[in-house]
Amino acid sequence: MCGIAGIYAYLDVAPPVDRAELRRMNDRMAARGPDGSRQWADASGRVGLAHRRLAIIDLSEGGAQPMQSADGRLTITFNGEIYNYRELRAELQAKGYKFNSESDTEVLLQLYADCGPAMVGRLRGMFAFGLWDGRSRQLLLARDPLGIKPLYWADDGWTLRFASQAKALLAGGAVSREPDPAGIVGFHLLGSVPEPFTVWRGIRALPAGTTMVVDAAGPGVPQRYHDVARALVERGSGAACDPAAARARIAAAVLESVRYHLVADVPVGVFLSAGLDSGALLGCMAQLGARDISALTLSFAEFKGANLDEAPLAAEVAARYGARHVVRTIDRAEFEHDLPAILDAMDLPTIDGINTWFVAKAAHEAGIKVALSGLGADECFGGYPSFVDVPRSVHWLRPFDWMPGVGTLARHGMSAAIAAGAGLHPKTAGLLEYGGSWAGAYLLRRSVYMPWELDELLDPALLQEGMRRLAPLGLIGGELCEGGSLGDFDRVATLETTLYMRNQLLRDADWAGMAHSVEIRVPYVDPFFLAALPPGNSLAATNAKEAVADIPEPPLPPASRNRSKTGFSTPVGRWLSEASGAPTSAIDLSAASRAWALRVWQAGWTGPAAAPVAP
C-alpha cells in the first residue's frame, strides 16, 4: 500500500523525464507512504518511476520500490497487496524462477516475465501498478478488477504521466488544470466523479479491471480483463441452491476471503461498527486465529447514551471475540478543524468519505497500519434499498419508457407542482421519465441532483458539453452491457458495485485512509470471493445480509441482529449541512448531500492551484 507515479516520454521529440517533476508528484503523496521514497529512471532518460512506501509485507529493504528484476529488464512501481502471492511464488519457483526477496512485488515482476500482461487475471488482491519492460520498451499500467486502488494518467500526446492520485499529477506542474465538464456534471449528478472522467480534462482514471499498454506511439486502448456483469452472469450459470446450502457457501466464501486478507507482516485491525458486516469480519478474524486484533469504532459526542451510539454494541462484539476495542469520539469542533485538511486530501470531489477520514485517523493514532473494513457487503448481499426500489420501479414503469415524451411532460407538470409547494422531493418529478429503465431508475435512486436541476447550478455551456460527453444513462447502462441474462438482484448488484461502490466508497476509502497512512482492506470486495458466493437469486432468497451473523463461531450476539438499520447514523450529515450553510432544519440525508456537494465544489477544484494544507 503506497503511492506510485511515473513519467514516460514516449515520443522521440518529447523532452526527457524531468526528475524534479517526478519528485513533486511523489511528494504530493507523502502520506501514502511514510516509510520510504524512491525514484528510478532508465539510462535513456525516457522513463522514470517513483514510489512512496508504506511497508506491510517484507518490511526489509528487499521490498523497496521501484523494484527491478535481476536481469534489469523489468522495473515496477506498485501500490496494493497481492494476497495470493505465496501461492503464485511457489508456482513460479516450480517453473524455475528465482526470488531474491519475500515481497509480493517481486512476484509481480516474475509473473509478468512468465505470462506478460495477462498476469493480472491471476492476482488476488488490490493493486495499481506501472511496470516498465525495457526490452519491448513498453509500460504496462494495470488496476485491480473492482477498483480498490486508484490509478490516474495524463497524456499530452508526447509524454504520459501516471500517479495514484490525480492531485499528484497536478502537483508535478506539467498537467493542465483545465476543467472537464463531463466530470463536473458527473459529480453534481452522482456525488462522485464517475470514471474514467476526473474534473480535469487532461487527467483520466484507468478504469477498474483494465490494463493499458503504452508504447512508442503512446497509450493504447485500455483492455478490460474483468467485467462485473459478465462475472455475475457466469456465477448465475451455476445451479441455484437452497437457503441452507447458500448460507454454507456464503460462510465458506467469507472465511476464505478474510483468511486471504489477513496476509501481512504487521498486525491487522478492523473497523468495527454496530453492524453485522464488520462484526462478522472480526468474528472470522478471531476464528482464523488472528492475534492481538484491534477493533476501532467511531463514536459521536452528540449520540452519547442514545440508541444511535454504535460504541456499546461494538464493545460487546469486540469483547465476544477478544479484540482490543478502541473507541474514538469525534465532535463537531474536530470536524471543523479537520475540514481544510479533508478537502486537501480529497483527491476528487465527493460527498462522502468523512467517516472514513476519522476512523482512519483513529487507527493511525492507535498505531494501526492495516485494517479490514466491511465496505462492499451491501453491494454483494443486497443491503441497500435499491435492491428493492430499482427493480420495482423498472417493472412498474417500463411502459412509460416506451412512450417518448410522456415522461418529460409529466416531469414538467410535477416540477411545477413541486415548485408550488407540493411537498415532494424534486427528484420525484422524474419518476415516469427515468423510472422505467435500469439506468434511469438507478440514476433516480443514487443521484444527488437530476439532470434537469443542473441548469440552476452550472454554466449552460459547461452543462451542455458535460452532459453530451458524460451521457449518464449510457454510462450507467454500459455497466450492464455484458449482463443480458442477469436477474434483478444481480443487475442492481452490478450497478452498485461498478458505480456507487467504485466511484465513491472505494475512492473515498483510498484517499481518506491513505491520508493517515492506513491501509484499508476490503474482504467483501474481491472477485474470487464474489465468484464463490451462490447465484444472485439464491442470495436474494437467503437473506444473505443476515446470514453473515452466523458465520463466525460463536456467532454475533443477538443484539447485533436486532439492531435496526440506522442508515447515515452519524451527526456528520448535520455537520456537513451546517458547514455548507444549509438551514439546520434540512437535516434529511438528501438535503444534506445536496448542500454538501455544493460546499465541496466551492472548495475550488479547477481554479488556480491552492497551497497544500500542512499535515
Binding site: 521529440v13 497524456d155 474514467p196 506511439a217 493504447g220 486502448v221
Partner: protein, 368 residues
C-alpha cells in the same frame, strides 16, 4: 499481402504547402514498409511526376460532389482496402462512409486549422467515429479532445518531419550578393501570404523593424512566400518600416532553394498565433537558424526548447522586439535538438501508428 490504404486528402503531390508536404512524408514512410497507397486529392497536379513505389495518385477533383462520387467508386474498385485515411476533418463523413462500405479501418488526420473552429454535428460525429486520429501537434490534439468525445488514447500525435536537405551549412556569399544584401543582420519569414492566413504575424515583424534597425543598423527583413495578400502586406510594410529595402519580398521560393536562404539568415521570425505545427520553424532550425515563433496554435511543438528558439506573445510588440534582440547573436541551433524530428524517427512512428490502427478491432457504435 501488402496493407492497402485509400487516402482522401486536400492535396499531396503536385501541391505546395505544409499539409501537402506532411501527406507526402507520411505516405512515403508507410510505402517504405511495403504499404500500397492510393491518393485521392482535391487539389494539385501530379501529372508527369514520378511517385515513389507503392504510391499512386488519382487526378485531383475539386468539386465536392464529384469528389465524393469518385471516392466511392475508387473505394469500391480498390477493395480489399485495409485503411481509409482521411487527411482533413471536413472529409470525415465521407471517409467514415467509405470505411464502413468497404469494411476498412478509419484513420483521420487533423492538422490544426481544420478543427480549431467548431465543426458541424455531422462532422463531429464522423470525427468521433474514427478508429484512430492523429494530429501534428499537442495543441491540435488538446483542442480536438475538447471539441469532441474522443477517448484521449485514440488521439495520437505524429509531428512533422524535416528532410535531409535541411542541414546546417555555411551562408552563401553568392546568394547574399544576388539579393543585394549588405552586412546587417537578416530576419527571415517564410510562409504563404494568404488573406485567410493573416495570423502568421508578418505585420508585427514589419512594425518591429525600425526599432531593431536603431540597434542593428542595416538589419533587413526578408519575406519569402506568395499569395493573394501580398499587395496589402507590401503596402503595410512600406507604412510600418518606411526605409526602402528594410523589408524585402522575395516571392515564392522553391523548396530546393529554401535551405540556402535559411543558412543565409540570422534569425527566423514568424510570431504566428495559429500555426498548426509550423513546419518552417523546423526547417529553419534544421538548417541551424535560430527561431522566434508565436504562442498559440501548435507552433510550440516545433520549438521544443531554448536550444531551438523562443516563443513570444504575437500581440506583445515590446516582447517581440526584445526577443529578437536577445536571439540575434546567440549562434546557431544545436543539431541534436532537431535529431528526433528527422526522417528515421518519423518513419518508425508512422509505421507504428499504421500497425495500431490496422490491429484494432473496428469500433462499434457507442464505444468511446
Amino acid at each position: 499481402m501488402a496493407i492497402r490504404v485509400l487516402a482522401l486528402v486536400g492535396d499531396c503531390y503536385g501541391a505546395r504547402g505544409g499539409i501537402a508536404r506532411y501527406n507526402r512524408d507520411l505516405f512515403e514512410a508507410l510505402a517504405l514498409g511495403g504499404t500500397e497507397i492510393q491518393v485521392l486529392p482535391r487539389l494539385g497536379d501530379a501529372t508527369g511526376a514520378v511517385l515513389p513505389p507503392g504510391i499512386r495518385q488519382q487526378p485531383a477533383i475539386a468539386g465536392r460532389l464529384r469528389f465524393s462520387l469518385a471516392a466511392l467508386w475508387a473505394a469500391w474498385r480498390a477493395r480489399p482496402v485495409d485503411v481509409v485515411f482521411c487527411g482533413h476533418a471536413y472529409m470525415a463523413p465521407l471517409a467514415w462512409l467509405l470505411a464502413r462500405l468497404v469494411g476498412a479501418h478509419y484513420w483521420l488526420q487533423a492538422h490544426g486549422a481544420d478543427i480549431w473552429r467548431d465543426r458541424p454535428d455531422s462532422e463531429r460525429r464522423a470525427i468521433e467515429a474514427a478508429d484512430q486520429v492523429t494530429t501534428v501537434s499537442r495543441a491540435t490534439r488538446r483542442i480536438l479532445l475538447g471539441r469532441t468525445n474522443l477517448a484521449p488514447e485514440r488521439v495520437r500525435v505524429l509531428p512533422n518531419t524535416v528532410g535531409e536537405q535541411f542541414m546546417p551549412g555555411p551562408p552563401s556569399a553568392a546568394l547574399r550578393a544576388r539579393l543585394g544584401l549588405g552586412d546587417g543582420p537578416i530576419l527571415l519569414t517564410v510562409g504563404r501570404l494568404a488573406s485567410e492566413e493573416r495570423y502568421k504575424g508578418h505585420e508585427q515583424v514589419f512594425a518591429a523593424v525600425p526599432a531593431l534597425r536603431a540597434i542593428f543598423p542595416g538589419l533587413v527583413h526578408l519575406v519569402a512566400g506568395e499569395g493573394d495578400d501580398r499587395a496589402r502586406l507590401q503596402a503595410r510594410a512600406a507604412e510600418l518600416s518606411p526605409v526602402p529595402g528594410s523589408v524585402r519580398f522575395l516571392g515564392f521560393v522553391p523548396d530546393e532553394e529554401l535551405p540556402e536562404l535559411y543558412r543565409l539568415a540570422d534569425l527566423f521570425v514568424m510570431p504566428s498565433s495559429e500555426e498548426g505545427f509550423g513546419i518552417v520553424y523546423l526547417e529553419a532550425a534544421a538548417c541551424g537558424l535560430r527561431v522566434v515563433g508565436g504562442a498559440g496554435g501548435g507552433g510550440g511543438d516545433a520549438i521544443p526548447d531554448a536550444r531551438v528558439g523562443l516563443i513570444v506573445d504575437p500581440l506583445d510588440q515590446a516582447a517581440l522586439i526584445d526577443t529578437i534582440k536577445r536571439s540575434l547573436g546567440q549562434g546557431r541551433v544545436d543539431p541534436a535538438a532537431i535529431e528526433p524530428y528527422r526522417r528515421p524517427h518519423f518513419v518508425t512512428a508512422a509505421r507504428l501508428l499504421l500497425a495500431r490502427v490496422k490491429g484494432r478491432p473496428c469500433r462499434k457504435r457507442g464505444e468511446s
